[in-house]
């Protein structure tokens, strides 16, 4: 209990440090999956550890202590009161953050549903007659691809095919739910923020690799990305939210061979997540023993 209960916090930091490195070295499909799984496990373990720390305050409740003294049990207080209160506070913050993330998710879905209105249900591509160059996948059943007319006219035929294949890969491999899971994990455990960013980058890389395989040409895929980015860049500085050199890194990645799967690294990441869960479980049994020892 003394150490286990704090370990998910340490593991969150480790995972966040490892995430960006793994994002560059490991095949994106594998890396995105293991990082998301580990992030979800770690976030749940972290939240649960905070619940345990807060629950340990019960040991300080006067009736419990009085009863324990009457029974002649010494009360071994595993958690200082200050930490218990801090844990309560952290839990409230987490609840608020998760609520905000879930609401944002629903808001996005509502907005996306409205974009599909008026288009036949069995059509994959939805074009928006807009001068703003944009392209994104709309998850759902069936998933749709939204591209603006400005983006379509900026690209050459082979590059349009890359764009469509890229967005199709997002839908086929369910990148929407994957990113949502990573987002919620980072909302529950702010230490996992870098992992969420890494997963966001990895699903783009994953879709790039799929598109390159679909058109059978990495060079054309890189050029499609470059042209789309330059077109969108000209639309104004705040038209697109900024991520750290993501497009340049994706273009660079397409100019070399696809990264290897590196199973040992993937397993190590999964182990981090599993370890967080196991240690949290161990801390739980410790606390239960301690409290029941006091209460019995």
């Amino acid at each position: 209990m003394r150490f286990d209960v704090y370990s998910p916090l340490v593991l969150s930091l480790l995972l966040s440090a490892a995430g960006p490195v793994i994002a560059r070295r490991v095949a994106p499909a594998l890396a995105a999956r293991v990082l998301t799984s580990a992030a979800v496990l770690t976030a749940v373990a972290t939240a649960w550890s905070l619940v345990l720390l807060a629950a340990a305050l019960l040991g300080d409740v006067p009736p419990v202590i009085r009863e324990a003294r009457e029974d002649g049990h010494p009360v071994a207080d595993p958690v200082p009161g200050v930490i218990g209160f801090a844990a309560c506070l952290a839990l409230v913050v987490i609840a608020l953050r998760v609520r905000r993330a879930v609401r944002a998710e629903f808001r996005t879905r509502r907005a996306l549903r409205r974009l599909c209105a008026g288009h036949p249900a069995d059509t994959e591509l939805i074009v928006a007659a807009s001068a703003t160059p944009r392209a994104f996948a709309i998850p759902g059943r069936p998933g749709r691809i939204l591209v603006t007319s400005a983006m379509l006219s900026a690209l050459r035929p082979a590059e349009r095919r890359v764009l469509l294949a890229h967005e199709r890969a997002h839908l086929a491999h369910r990148h929407g739910p994957l990113v949502t899971a990573a987002t919620l994990a980072a909302a529950a455990d702010p230490l996992l923020g870098p992992v969420r960013t890494a997963v966001g980058f990895l699903v783009e890389r994953w879709a790039d690799e799929q598109a390159a395989a679909a058109v059978g040409d990495r060079r054309t895929t890189a050029r499609a990305l470059a042209r789309a980015a330059l077109t969108a860049g000209g639309a104004g500085p705040c038209a697109l939210h900024f991520t750290d050199r993501a497009v340049t890194r994706r273009v660079a990645a397409l100019q070399t061979s696809p990264p290897p799967r590196l199973w040992p690294v993937a397993l190590a990441v999964l182990l981090l997540g599993t370890l967080a869960a196991l240690l949290a479980a161990d801390a739980t049994s410790d606390l239960v023993r301690q409290l029941s020892g006091v209460l019995s």
Partner: protein, 127 residues
Amino acid sequence: MAGTGSRGRAERRSAGALESEVLAALWATERPLTPAEIQAGIDGALAYNTVHTILKRLYDKGLVLRDADGRRGAYRPAKNAAELTAEAMHEALDRGPDPIAALQQFVTGLRPEEERALRELLAGGGA
């Protein structure tokens, strides 16, 4: 360069995917296109008959208009739904916080030096 495959037909495209490509080709230009022009404007060999079949399907769905601008046999995309979608998109974009910015966009913003590097990439190697 390692891993740069030859320009090949790596995957058979489904009917839905072909439909998207024809529609994208029509939207990419201002003027109406004949099936032969569309065939030329699509990456990869596609039989004329296939293009024709896809156009008929798009026409039946109301996504394209035929004999556009007095050009017999030429097609152009129908604008109504696309304009409504654009309106809804801009509404969503203007109303902060941007619910669409949260999505995975095909591309994101660029720094000036990144822009230069990408321009060089496109300038090099022709095509």
